[in-house]
Subunit: 207 residues, 2 copies
């Protein structure tokens, strides 16, 4: 299992126009995060979850969850993904998860409640530029879930909550990258690590 | 200098509707390639060029060039970038470069002519899954320009032309990734290498 939680500080919590996706509190960033997290060329990654915490008006907080194993009829372009998020926001979000499309769910959780749930199945890592180099610690990450902010970053009070749950602060670059680039790089480093492990096991079994 | 050349095998060569960017021969892929290549969080990379070779109907080939140092009023979302490409396609493409917006140019070059020009200022690398691991060779790349295909890949006859100009075939993953993910990873590996070199020089000058 692998997961990403992206905090959309201004992302709208009501249905929005597909003609102006950035205008919906920079929903374009969140769409690209989903796209870059779950899609490969002509296929979708297995066992990957993306959580979007929407904190914009008029009805925050709302969480949208995407389960890669169950998602259907999604393309990697922003408009396709935005259309599915818009549809999800037409549903009433309750305490539990409501499925709004195959593999897409909505809930009225806040950051603390969400992290409490997630820490049952994931090891939480907080992504920040000054963290530990992911390349040095990816080998020991089991079922990691990375928490990261959008263009605004992560507010101090949210950071405090995250750090209560996080095993480590991890950095993917000394440059300040866009959220979806951080996700691509995390996937890349984890892929390399898991392939190295597979190769090692393969070599071992050959002996 | 760093560059990327993405081959859009079916990408339209006439102005298209922004309501259906994937329908324009998967122009969405090319927009994401530009976005992931040149944007950082709240800034734009220096000295980076992206070339899109559009090979779709009705008027192929057309090349769109984006110079990061000169580009203005572009946002990282697909629609913003698609709007600028659409505008470029309203101009008549000639043999030379016509500027259609700050930092955006159009020309009626084919793959061979383009690579002939580019090989004057770049070392050309061809991106293919079975190539050399980029991590092993990034340290020796000076002014690299990476050639890669869209969702269709690269046609045999185009590959032959590329290989005539390419110094090496380079791979960023054993997984089949989307073109924009390959670009993000190439930037990442080159950033790490150049930072290592800077650190080494820094340590050296301290002695």
């Amino acid at each position: 299992m692998r997961g990403f939680l992206v905090i959309g500080n201004k992302a709208t919590t009501s249905p929005f126009s597909l003609k102006n996706i950035p205008g919906a509190g920079r929903m374009d960033i969140l769409c690209r995060c989903i796209s870059q997290a779950i899609f490969l060329s002509h296929s979708i990654r297995k066992s990957l979850e993306v959580y979007l915490l929407l904190l914009g008006d008029p009805n925050p907080p709302i969480v949208v969850k995407i389960k890669s194993d169950e998602v259907r009829r999604m393309s990697p372009d922003e408009r396709s993904i935005a259309g599915l998020i818009r549809k999800a926001l037409k549903f009433k979000a309750g305490e539990g998860w409501t499925e709004t499309n195959s593999g897409i769910f909505i809930s009225k959780k806040g950051l603390r409640g969400l992290l409490e749930d997630l820490s049952n199945s994931y090891h939480i890592y907080y992504m920040r530029e000054d963290g530990e180099d992911i390349r040095k610690i990816s080998y020991k990450m089991e079922n990691p879930l990375f928490v990261l902010g959008d263009h605004v970053g992560v507010k101090k009070e949210d950071e405090k909550i995250i750090l209560r749950f996080a095993e480590d602060i991890v950095s993917v670059s000394k440059l300040s990258l866009m959220a979806e680039q951080c996700i691509t790089i995390a996937n890349y480093e984890l892929d390399r690590t898991s392939m190295n492990i597979q190769n090692t096991l393969l070599n071992y079994s050959k002996k």
